[in-house]
């Protein structure tokens, strides 16, 4: 019997990521991971790319995971889990195992958008039965906030600092979700922890589908975003409502927007509470703010068009 997707029912399930992990206070990543694990109706095995989540949940002698979990390197979480999945298929064929197990790889945006991209692309193309979850906080937060290809336009990081020469990252962020969709895999989705029900429904749907699946989940980082420790959920909600991070899924090539804000809020609402965008609010950078808003508008309209809504 499937557990109902109500918090009351879910709270009776065993938590497979325990307390005592050493992620920063107010980090979005453990919230994302706990939701993914809670949503699953299957026993899980996970692989982790190097990153905040990996280093802080498994520090010598301690692990916060209650499921079999493997870390290999930065660039190969997807390759590692595809190996585990292949071994599982072989053991199943030999009659040595009969349990229905699902495989998940977790990676940050650095391990997904940049360093782990080729191994992820390979695993998707080979068609392994796995779900790859990217928790996207928009920079290499673990090593001290260096820019990644997920870092949004205009954001200040230690390798694209806002100063006299540049005003934060000059380039646009990469659209990873659509890159994964271009692999023609059966399921790709974008989610946010603020919309926990939507997130969990997507995880359940993904795990029920055979083949490679990808989910991109926004994960606020108060250290890197230069925001308050209590606003991870508030910011992820604003990211959705401003259409900076639209919630949608692409199932067998069909795009569906799963949450359409009643009123699309201005991008300013999302970036104002974050210190990494502080410089965009000085009068001389007004143009950048406008450019940033136009980028978001363009992406949102393209998404609506793809979903057949407009």
């Amino acid at each position: 019997m499937a557990t109902g997707l109500t918090l009351k029912e879910l709270s009776k399930k065993e938590m497979l990521l325990t307390a005592g992990h050493r992620m920063c206070a107010g980090c979005g990543a453990p919230i994302v991971v706990k939701m993914v694990l809670l949503a699953s109706e299957y026993p899980l095995i996970a692989a982790n790319a190097t990153g905040c989540l990996e280093v802080s949940t498994c520090i010598s002698e301690y692990t916060a995971w209650k499921i079999p979990w493997i870390h290999n390197a930065f660039e190969n979480a997807a390759a590692t889990i595809s190996g585990v999945e292949t071994m599982y298929r072989s053991l199943k064929k030999q009659g040595k195992i009969d349990k229905e197990i699902k495989f998940i790889a977790f990676g940050g945006d650095g391990g997904t958008y940049d360093i782990g991209l080729q191994s992820l692309s390979g695993a998707m193309e080979r068609g392994h039965d796995m779900l790859y979850v990217c928790y996207d906080n928009g920079a290499y937060m673990n090593t001290g906030i260096q820019r990644s290809s997920a870092t949004p336009f205009g954001a200040d990081t230690t390798t694209c600092p806002a100063g006299d020469v540049i005003q934060g990252k000059p380039q646009q962020r990469k659209d990873m979700t659509r890159i994964m969709a271009a692999h023609g895999i059966p399921y790709v989705a974008q989610a946010s922890p603020s919309h926990w029900m939507d997130l969990m429904k997507k995880v359940r749907k993904a795990l029920d589908i055979k083949g490679p699946k990808f989910m991109n989940i926004i994960s606020p980082c108060n250290r890197g975003w230069r925001s308050r420790t209590d606003d991870a959920i508030m910011l992820s909600k604003l990211a959705v409502e401003t259409c900076y991070w639209p919630l949608y899924e692409i199932e067998n090539g069909v795009t569906k927007v799963t949450f359409k804000p009643k009123e699309k809020k201005p991008l300013k609402d999302f970036i104002k509470p974050q210190g990494r965008f502080k410089h965009l609010f000085s009068p001389e950078n007004e143009g950048m703010l406008k450019t940033f808003q136009e980028m978001i508008d363009r992406e949102w309209e393209a998404l609506l068009k793809a979903s057949g809504a407009e």
């Binding site: 918090l7 009351k8 029912e9 879910l10 709270s11 009776k12 938590m15 990521l17 325990t18 307390a19 005592g20 992990h21 050493r22 992620m23 920063c24 206070a25 107010g26 980090c27 979005g28 990543a29 453990p30 919230i31 706990k34 939701m35 949940t57 498994c58 520090i59 010598s60 002698e61 301690y62 692990t63 916060a64 995971w65 209650k66 499921i67 922890p193 926990w196 308050r228 420790t229 209590d230 606003d231 991870a232 959920i233 508030m234």
Partner: protein, 97 residues
Amino acid sequence: MKLKGWKEVTPGAVVTEGGSALKFKTGSWRAFRPRWIEENCIQCLFCWIYCPDMAVKVKDGKMTEFDYDYCKGCGICALECPGKKGNKAIIMEEEGK
């Protein structure tokens, strides 16, 4: 916990006990402490689902207390708490006051 020497560590540094992080208490990181005001609580469990540190104890579908052994005092629970009639069921108080 005393750190093991290299001869005592498992090959590949494999951790054989799942969830052993529970032995590591993170409550001392806290600068602000959440206080639960039960009469304002509508048992929505938002605090439980949004807590990054699994520090909200729930029994039979109801919030019962905070786990101060692990709570890092981020304040997400207090911010997200809808409360009752505009009165929050969770407020943050400075530690040591």
